[in-house]
């Protein structure tokens, strides 16, 4: 057994549960921070643990280019290489390659693309993408898909969906044939003790963090889990077909891909909702690449279990901060003399300590600490939002707006 999903509460279409992976349990619905190159930009892994991050996302395309799959494999996979004992997910590289509009060429076999770093030529196919993701060794990996552009006409949407289905079969076949090659050291998964997260002697922090999860005996010979991806553009009928035929291939979890590619938000919601009708209700459902704090609440209410997005981390780097009182652009001069915490309702280590005036100064002076602190706060806000959503579901209520808690009495 390599993954186990158990739903513990439902409220309307929403559900809350646990996704158990070889590297730890994940409470769902979950927001997965993005660590493109094996790092959530500016934030150390111990701070991510403290924030309660249970699963991180890495980008196969980026890691394939730097440092290269071999280097990570030789160290025993991403967990050991980046010293992250908890769960990891990698995308397949399909979406990243899709973004290289002028640098790629798609054929039945796969995609030839040029590196955004040095223009060097590379080739990704379902087999190559599986090989890369097995070498990287995330707990959950994704089928190699073609992300259909928006807008696209009916013929293009269908052709693209069919290609993704053929690639899904090839992805699964290659994965099944090679999944034993995952480079996890066996000590990682020892059945009789905590998962070993650290490369070195047990250290205080790592011990503390990894002790929370003891891998069940059934995980001793565990491998990664490959999720399928539903495509089909913005067409309800194609989404239905894509879902049914992807399920027919058979995966332990299903993602909805091809959204957040420029379409209006109302359309995104419509496609998510209609696609969800056709996904198995007892398996994890992952909506790729969303969203704002309001959107992640909305999609969790629709029955999505997993989401990822660069928004909280990227916005932080541009000084855009999410708070219980709305969005703040910390660069504004009005904050220069403001001694209040960033968000008076937030308990993160940034809001507990620093006045807005200081955060504004750090941003205006281009200090690296601005990026660090802003990212910690935005991630904390997203994770608190999802925590509140899970709490609402457990109470049998639909979750409300993100993290608008009543202010403490003065």
């Amino acid at each position: 057994m390599s993954i186990h999903f158990q739903i513990e509460a439902r409220s309307g279409a929403a559900r809350s549960g646990r996704l158990i992976t070889p590297h730890g349990e994940i409470e769902t619905p979950v927001f997965m921070p993005v660590g493109t190159l094996g790092s959530v930009k500016g934030v150390s892994q111990d701070i991510l643990e403290e924030l309660g991050v249970q699963i991180l996302l890495g980008n196969t395309y980026h890691l394939y280019l730097r440092p290269g799959v071999e280097q990570v494999r030789n160290l025993g996979g991403l967990h050991r290489w980046m010293a992250w004992p908890r769960a990891l997910l990698t995308d397949s590289g399909g979406f990243q390659v899709f973004s290289l509009t002028d640098l790629r060429k798609v054929t039945e076999e796969g995609v030839t693309f040029r590196s955004h770093l040095d223009g060097s030529s590379h080739f990704f196919s379902p087999e190559r993408a599986m090989e890369a993701q097995i070498g990287l060794g995330a707990d959950i990996i994704m089928a190699f898909d073609e992300c259909t552009e928006y807008p696209a006409d009916a013929g293009r949407m269908r052709a693209s969906m069919e290609l993704t289905l053929r690639w899904a079969e090839r992805s699964k076949r290659h994965f099944e044939d090679h999944k034993q090659e995952v480079p996890w050291p066996k000590t990682h998964l020892a059945p009789d003790g905590p998962v070993r997260g650290s490369l070195h002697k047990p250290a205080h922090r790592v011990e503390r963090s990894s002790a929370a999860f003891v891998a069940p005996a059934s995980f001793l010979d565990s491998t990664q889990s490959l999720f399928g991806i539903v495509q089909g553009g913005m067409d309800r009928e194609l989404r239905k077909q894509s879902a049914e035929r992807t399920i027919a291939i058979g995966f332990p979890g299903y993602a909805i891909g091809g959204l957040s590619v420029g379409e209006p938000r109302a359309l995104t919601r419509e496609v998510v909702e209609s696609t969800l009708e056709h996904l198995p209700s007892d398996q994890p459902r992952y909506l790729m690449g969303v969203g704002t704090p309001e959107e992640i609440v909305e999609y969790a209410n629709l029955g999505i279990d997993m989401m990822d997005c660069v928004l909280p981390t990227r916005a932080a780097r541009h000084g855009l901060l999410f708070t219980s009182e709305g969005k703040i652009s910390i660069k504004q001069a009005r904050y220069a003399g403001d001694e209040a915490p960033l968000d008076p309702n937030c308990g993160c280590r940034v809001c507990r300590r620093y006045p807005r005036a200081y955060l504004r100064h750090l941003y205006a002076a281009n200090e690296v600490l601005a990026q660090v602190l802003n990212t910690v706060h935005n991630l904390s806000f997203y994770l608190d939002t999802m925590r509140a959503v899970r709490h609402s579901i457990l109470l049998g209520k639909e979750a409300g707006s993100p993290c608008v808690r009543s202010r403490p009495k003065p």
Copy 2:
């Protein structure tokens, strides 16, 4: 009373003691990390506390330009503004202005200089530098001096030294007339409880960190402390005169300035040694702007109590890491597959967790986390080095090379 220095052990010329300030105790000899703009680049204040930093240095020139003294003063001074409850020291701006070779003009009255940011014209005098430093509100502030360039002829060295002496008198006069204007909130210095370091309600971390120091009742009306600076170029006789005449003006501590300006290291040491002979043995002695790990040990052995240098933080940003086994340039390809910790003898949160391969990747991929982790390690190495020096002095031994501890048995 605003500062109290007590020597607790001596070994040869070296001494170990405590410098008690309105914002906490400092164990000496101490290395003071540099937080130019009110931030040790990339490192959050709570991590600095965890590293055991007891005093930080800020640069008046930089803070005067950004965010400006008014903004800091209005928030109650640097401690509250940057949420740092422990001790702070600011330089006078003299050295920074000295570095603006082509952008400054020195007269008897003071220095006219152009901002390195926007070319705007500014004027610093002893009075202006005191005004700025009182507004910033560090525990220890520095007289406005002229840092003599190297090399300089005898006439130039003497003229510069005489100017610094006249400026020291003016600095002291202005400070004595205005020291009550320091913007510290009185609650900062409450005699019946811990120093309040946080702007907000007591938060876990801040409480924990500041609880270590309870301000004595005598600190209730305390002010800042102004240190004098000895100049005199590389001339022993001028250094002697400068020391004697600065002492005659009278300060609670003395710095040796005008070194590390391009002269050979042997000459630095010679000047330090000869200047120390003329400084009071019962007052703190601060050597400005040094040095390497070897040098800070050497100067502590000569009897220096305080040092600061951008080397550990700046080198970190260039991937140069100090370890018990020598300097490491983490960018080198040889570390790409290296699963050992950066320094097997170091217990910092970076060495406890990450393999060199990952640190090398972060640096090569220009990830912000590289700067964060490298800085944490280098500071940890410097602070460990000084801790070992203090330990040696307490044991009555001369301190040896920095942090070369025996490796643990396998």
